[in-house]
């Protein structure tokens, strides 16, 4: 069984990296093989909290996709983008900064791909109006979406998976990751000011073109916009309070999604059809494959190796945190960060059992959220999310931006993206390392 599960896992990983076959097909077929070979029984795959599909992650993703699908019909994102371009008075650098800010905020509370899908056309339009090269703007938005998405529990799928596995709530992410992201974002913008501040100039007549744009024309459905904003606001409030009321984040999101579906008047058929089902089934397949390698002991072997290298102690896991941060970042630049985190989550749980000398499956929240362990979870989240900036294939948002840009006649080469993305990835992960080190190991602010 060990070799069957290990082979399925390694072949699936290799195929996902190669992108020769669609990742959803690979994950689903791998999951079917895990079940047909009886590495996992169907009950374990569907019902086991330890080995099976994490339905909290699945329903949180579906619910947020429903909310986003309804909100995109309002045109609010395009309105905000044009409004920002006018607020910047058509100044190219100010527009770049404001677009980065709205992308980061959008990505923190919605999903990265939708945020860039909505903003890229407006960016191309504004760049066309200003007669400037849109590529630096587009890459900035991809990078901003990955950085912004790191700040919250719902911002990026790795965070949703980590939160579910470690039992962390929305406010934990706000308290621990949001400050890091605000600091990182400010330093990044400072660096961008030095690089682009004096390079982006346009004639006054072109700036005036921006000022004549009618942003109000973008709002397609005012009543729907009002309902969407109210429901989104209440859902975010629900996320902030879910720990207090002992609800899982998926419950809050499902409540928000179904409420909006009910009050919006939209047909469920079209809204549900727009849910990214390939992504959802990718997660389901992946959870089953990972459940298989947990059951046969591969994750336990990997955990032993990690302990041997980083020597984590029950009260201090400093080296492990640092290694986790850089390892996650570098891996996520090369591999999709979702399978990476799906593998690392059970590995950390297994390691917790070993470090605290617990019988298998007996770790409680007290151990999983032990003060010494928490920086390891945060390092994993920071590394996995920020690492996505390291290459054009490191994150879904990057792939979307590169594709849309090429379609509009502005090809972004692999090297061109790397020129911007890799230094930003190294810079932001370095800042994260300082943040984790200073916060948790110097000031001990757990």
């Amino acid at each position: 069984m060990f070799w069957i599960a290990t082979t399925i896992f390694l072949v699936a990983y290799a195929l996902i990296i190669s992108e020769k076959i669609h990742k959803t097909k690979v994950a689903m077929f791998g999951a079917a093989l895990i079940l047909i070979t009886k590495v996992l029984h169907q009950e374990e795959a569907f019902d086991s909290l330890e080995l099976g599909v994490d339905w909290n992650v699945i329903f949180l993703l579906i619910s947020m996709m429903i909310i986003i699908n309804i909100m995109t019909k309002t045109g609010v994102f395009q309105y905000v983008a044009i409004k920002c371009a006018k607020l910047a008075k058509g100044e190219p650098f100010r527009i770049m900064i404001l677009f980065a800010v709205i992308t980061a905020i959008g990505s923190a509370f919605l999903d990265n791909v939708t945020t860039v899908l909505l903003l890229v056309p407006v960016t191309l339009f504004i760049a066309d109006q200003l007669e400037i090269n849109p590529i630096p703007y587009l890459i900035t938005e991809a990078l901003a979406s990955n950085i912004g998405g790191t700040a919250t529990l719902i911002g990026d799928p790795p965070n949703i998976m980590i939160a579910s596995k470690a039992g962390l709530n929305f406010m934990d992410f706000i308290v621990h990751l949001a400050p890091a992201i605000i600091i990182i974002f400010l330093f990044w913008m400072l660096a961008w000011k030095i690089i682009f501040g004096n390079r982006l100039h346009v004639r006054d007549e072109l700036k005036r073109r921006i000022m004549t744009l009618e942003e109000k024309e973008q709002i397609k459905d005012v009543p729907l916009l009002k309902k969407s904003l109210v429901v989104l606001g209440l859902t975010i409030l629900g996320f902030m309070l879910h720990g207090f009321f002992h609800y899982e984040p998926a419950t809050v999101a499902l409540m928000g999604a179904t409420t909006l579906l009910l009050v919006s008047g939209e047909e469920p058929h079209s809204i549900l059809a727009d849910v990214e089902w390939p992504t959802i089934f990718f997660f389901i397949g992946l959870f089953i494959i990972i459940g298989g390698i947990v059951k046969v002991g591969l994750v336990e072997d990997m955990s032993r190796a990690m302990i041997a290298v980083t020597d984590p102690q029950p009260d201090n896991m400093k080296l492990l945190s640092m290694v986790m941060l850089w390892f996650s970042a570098i891996s996520s630049a090369v591999v999709d960060n979702i399978p990476f985190v799906a593998t690392m989550n059970p590995l950390i749980i297994d390691m917790i059992h070993k470090v605290y000398d617990l019988a298998p499956g007996t770790a409680t929240a007290e151990h999983i959220q032990h003060l010494a362990v928490m920086p390891v979870w945060w390092s994993l989240a920071l590394g996995a999310c920020l690492g996505g900036n390291g290459s054009p294939i490191g994150a879904s948002a990057n792939v979307i931006v590169v594709g849309l840009s090429e379609k509009a006649g502005h090809k972004i080469s692999f090297g061109q993206f790397l020129k911007y993305g890799l230094p930003v990835m190294l810079f932001t992960v370095f800042l994260s390392m300082i943040y984790v080190y200073v916060r948790y190991y110097v000031f001990k602010l757990y």
Partner: protein, 164 residues
């Protein structure tokens, strides 16, 4: 009835290197909806350029109707776009996946293919791919009225709304 008996043999032709301006002039110079057949020296069909293709070339890939509404001076925007695409040639614009008919195909087959694809006009090609003519929705309907129904054609003129 074979389509060859009701096809129109006067068609718009262009060479692969015909530029955007000449294509635009050809299509706008025609009083009825037309498409341009891009052919080689031996009149073998290489591709089709429709009025939709010419309009789409003017619209950037990022543009949609909502974004277009935010522009106050659309004429200026279109003029800029024409400047950008004026050097494109027929081979850059034409559609190469072509649905076509052969001369011996029945009128009913033409009707079915038009209903299936949603195209307005279909080319009729010989066995070597040489263009012989075209048939469109209206011609099929006219044949239908003349041959298959007892309806009488009348010459009712369209209403000129500007006179109301």
């Amino acid at each position: 009835m074979d389509v060859v008996k009701c096809m129109r043999t006067q068609v718009l032709l262009a060479k692969p290197n015909s530029d955007y301006k000449s294509l635009l002039c050809k299509i706008t110079g025609s009083t009825i909806p037309r498409q341009i057949y891009v052919v080689d020296e031996s009149y073998k069909l290489l591709g089709i350029v429709t009025s939709l293709d010419l309009l789409k070339e003017l619209i950037p890939s990022y543009m949609n109707a909502d974004l277009a509404r935010s522009i106050t001076d659309g004429a200026d925007f279109l003029q800029k776009q024409v400047e950008k695409v004026k050097d494109k040639c027929a081979s850059d614009i034409m559609a190469t996946k072509i649905k076509f008919l052969h001369p011996h195909n029945q009128l009913f087959e033409a009707d079915a293919l038009i209903a299936e694809t949603g195209f307005n006009t279909l080319p009729i090609l010989d066995e070597e791919g040489k263009i012989l003519g075209e048939i469109n929705r209206r011609e099929i309907l006219v044949r239908l009225v003349n041959n298959c129904t007892g309806f009488n054609l009348n010459d009712e003129k369209p209403v000129d709304l500007s006179l109301l």
